[in-house]
């Protein structure tokens, strides 16, 4: 079997294990599993409790429940939210597309720009203008995300009126959505950029001191040629791990931005569900996050072994 096949199976096992935990936790928690599955704040009459317990199969033996759980998961049936009065799967899907619209461009831009600028900053770390740039990025890196969001919202949207104050859209045209998204995307890009920048800078500074970089110079490579032909590929390895984390935690990563900019994405959904103890939504989100984290890790693993042959051959 190929190495990537083995890896894929390992990740699949992780998903099955986590999904099974998701089945076990509400049933193992103290109290009525029905309350644990519906959420604590849902008010029910005695008759509807009996009716619901039968409908959800909670009176069946555990192994039967387990099989039912898996057949539901495979059919994307993640339960029903009595708070939002809608199937969990439908809620998540409608919220997810907005969060992805916000987070994916930010993370991609942040990764590309952060890596390139960070690499150049590490290569020329002794130059004055690079030091200034690094100081600036370090400031962004140290500012809490919500604070920068609030600041930009206050200055650019509230005072200057350049951008809308809240939401993903008002009229719904593509231009309108882009106008709403621009500021949050810029803020989130800056954060992702600053993280990747700092890691890449440090990595390049470390790698450029290696003998292979000197040998590249001895072969007649000049200036940035050495960086991009030799150092870059070695230095980018830690970034891949960071990207996997970033993409895996897209939903929670966008949380602060969504709250400050009052955007109804996944972040806000999870936040509200936590406050109102809407367990079905939380569990559904938990499963979605699981899938994203695991697949991001799998991708990083494959990418890593594509770039670094030493991983591939062991």
């Amino acid at each position: 079997m190929t190495l990537s096949g083995k890896k894929a199976i390992r990740y699949l096992l992780a998903i099955i294990l986590i999904f099974s935990l998701n089945f076990a936790i509400p049933r193992a928690m103290p109290g009525d599993p029905l309350a644990n599955l519906l959420g604590e704040d849902v008010m029910l009459t005695e008759e509807s409790i009996v009716e619901l317990r039968a409908k959800m199969g909670l009176d069946l033996p555990l192994h039967q429940q387990f099989l039912n759980y898996w057949s539901d998961v495979i059919r994307f049936d993640l339960g029903y939210s009595y708070h939002l009065h809608s199937p969990v799967c439908a809620i998540i899907l409608s919220r997810m597309k907005w969060t992805l619209l916000l987070a994916v461009p930010s993370l991609v831009l942040g990764a590309v720009l952060g890596t390139l600028l960070g690499a150049l900053a590490g290569w020329k770390s002794r130059e004055a203008c690079q030091k200034f740039e690094t100081g600036l990025v370090l400031m962004i890196y140290c500012t809490p995300p919500y604070f920068l969001s609030l600041l930009s919202l206050y200055a650019l949207s509230f005072k200057l009126g350049l951008f809308p104050l809240k939401g993903f859209y008002s009229t719904g045209s593509a231009l309108d959505i882009a106008h709403h998204l621009l500021l949050p995307v810029v803020v989130m890009t800056l954060f992702s950029l600053s993280r990747n920048y700092m890691i890449m800078r440090g990595s390049v500074i470390q790698e450029r001191g290696n003998l292979y970089a000197t040998y590249a110079r001895a072969k007649g490579l000049y200036g940035e040629e050495i960086l991009f032909r030799h150092v870059f590929k070695n230095a980018i390895l830690p970034i891949i791990t960071l990207l996997a984390l970033d993409f895996g935690f897209i939903l929670s990563g966008a949380l602060f931005i969504e709250i400050v900019f009052s955007m109804n994405g996944m972040g806000n959904l999870i936040y509200d569900a936590l406050l109102s103890r809407d367990y079905p939504v939380l569990q559904g989100s938990f499963l979605v996050i699981t899938i994203m984290v695991v697949s991001a890790n799998l991708l990083a693993d494959l990418l890593y072994s594509h770039i670094d042959p030493r991983v591939r051959w062991q």
Partner: protein, 319 residues
């Protein structure tokens, strides 16, 4: 190896080269007043103990020293002083007209780039050759060095032994047929048989390219095998230089004799005393505290002097 080197013109003239490193402990005098010529198709060996400044000389010529090095003197090559060239200009000389083989092949090669690409790289960088074409040339070269299997081109340095990586470096160093190849301890860390292989490979490429070789080594028997002339370094200075058979056959400088006595053939006699500090070297002749023939005069500086003709030079008050 041809012995008619006297008639060939010098390709590289190193004049009064001195290298000092600024360190927190003080100024390290790694090389002082180093002067030598390398002639066309000649092999000159720079021998001496570890830490005597041999490698520093090689790196200084190529401007590969770290930023805390202060370099003085001249290295004349094609009517230019290599030590005064801008980084952009020297980068056109490196790997193209003068190439260097480092002493640690496994760390010198990029761990995540295929060796074929690394051998072909100088063609792409200096000649602007397309990747595919340059790989063809590299493959041809490898097969001339007896590494002709197609699959080797696609392998990575970590899959090779130290000896094979050394061959990769040798192939890389000669791919553009440079005028001078500098080999910095090419056999360090290799066993006798592998060292002999590497030496025969170096000899093969000298024949193929007609390049001159500056061999930096602590291994006197290796120097004896392939060099025409030999220069003995002690504590940053050349103390004796001349034809290989003269210097090793009838050493003039007491240090050269002491060094030969250390060899198995010389009876394993160690040199008394310890290597001097390069921050506070002894006054005058740097070897005098350990020298069996020292006199009052030895605390004064002696310039390197020519003895019978141009070939033989020695830095000692005895002559």
């Amino acid at each position: 190896m041809s012995m008619h080197n006297d008639m060939n013109a010098p390709v590289l003239q190193v004049v009064g080269l001195s290298v000092r490193f600024k360190t927190p402990l003080g100024l390290v005098r790694a090389a002082e007043d180093v002067t030598f010529d390398i002639h066309e198709k000649e092999t000159l060996s720079l021998v001496g103990e570890t830490g005597c400044g041999k490698s520093v000389v090689a790196s200084a010529i190529m401007q590969l020293l770290p930023g805390n090095a202060v370099v003085e003197g001249q290295a004349l090559f094609s009517k230019r002083d290599l030590l005064k060239l801008e980084e952009k200009e020297i980068s056109r000389v490196r790997g193209n007209e003068i190439s260097i083989i480092f002493q640690n092949p496994s760390l010198s090669l990029n761990p995540i780039i295929e060796v074929g690409e690394q051998i072909a790289e100088p063609l792409q960088v200096h000649r602007g050759m397309a990747r595919h074409q340059s790989h063809q040339v590299a493959k041809g070269l490898l097969s001339r060095l007896g590494l002709g299997e197609r699959s080797l081109m696609r392998m990575y340095p970590f899959q090779f032994s130290g000896g094979m990586n050394q061959r990769v470096m040798i192939a890389t160093s000669m791919i553009l047929s440079p005028k001078i190849i500098i080999a910095d301890e090419p056999t360090k860390g290799l066993d006798r048989a592998l060292a002999r292989d590497v030496v025969s490979e170096i000899e093969k490429i000298l024949d193929l390219t007609g390049a001159s070789l500056l061999l930096i080594t602590h291994d006197i028997s290796l120097a004896k095998m392939i060099s025409n002339r030999i220069a003995v370094m002690y504590c940053g200075e050349i103390v004796e230089m001349g034809k290989c058979k003269d210097v090793l056959g009838e050493p003039l400088h007491p240090y050269t004799s002491a060094l030969l006595d250390c060899l198995p053939e010389g009876g394993f006699k160690p040199i008394p005393g310890a290597s001097p500090s390069m921050i506070h070297p002894p006054q005058g002749c740097k070897f005098h505290p350990r020298c069996p023939h020292k006199t009052q005069k030895c605390t004064q500086k002696q310039r390197i002097r020519k003895i019978d003709g141009d070939e033989r030079q020695v830095r000692c008050w005895l002559y």
